[in-house]
Amino acid sequence: MNFEDHKEFPVDSASLKGVRSYTREVLSQDPVFKSTTDDVVLAVAEAAQNIVKHAYSGEPTGDTMRVEISFKEGQLKIELFDKGKPAIPKNIKPRQLDDVKPGGLGTFFIGQIMDEVIFKTAASDWVNRLILIKNY
């Protein structure tokens, strides 16, 4: 079953629950995602959290972030767009796990769960575009 869906959310930590619910709802369309839904929901929520925390430094904003989810030929592609500070891909690194301290785990989780993580400069009205891919 191929599909495409998208939704925008206010850039706010209060939106993270909505991002999770939306992702879960979209993935429920096809039983192929059943065993990995919790993981993918976590990855998308971590990516959305990074937008709130890093692209906007946790500052209040009226901006929205956009989540696009598509599935085609066995490939789940989730894209997140935001208008925050431009991300510098070489600076986005998961922390070393043996360096136990609060923070820095979100990017690690995303990398563990998804098959590909691609940062791009967004076209049109957006600034950052994060592409998460998982193959089924």
Binding site: S13, A14, L16, K17, R20, D38, L42, A45, E46, Q49, V52, K53, L97, V100, K101, P102, G103, G104, L105, G106, F108, F109, Q112
Partner: protein
Amino acid sequence: MSYKITEEGNVATVHLDGEIDMDVTEKAKEVIMPLIEAGKEVHLNLKEVQYMDSSGISVLIESHQKAAELGTKVILKEISKSVLKVIMMAKLEQILIIE
């Protein structure tokens, strides 16, 4: 997220309920940290926590480290399956105290 605290002697048990993400981490810290700072041994019961992200994991790490610094401990109890999966993904099962 909601919570309930029970105290018996020097042990404070915090029953957390719901989803623990960035939106509620400050609230979680406000509940847990004063107990640690008061020198209590804190038991965090996570049976009813259905979801925890990296922000929630950070609260667990911070609580664990603060307790160690003050000579007490935070023990994680009855961890739900979904939370345990995230703790193990972060390879923290050997670092945090789990019973």
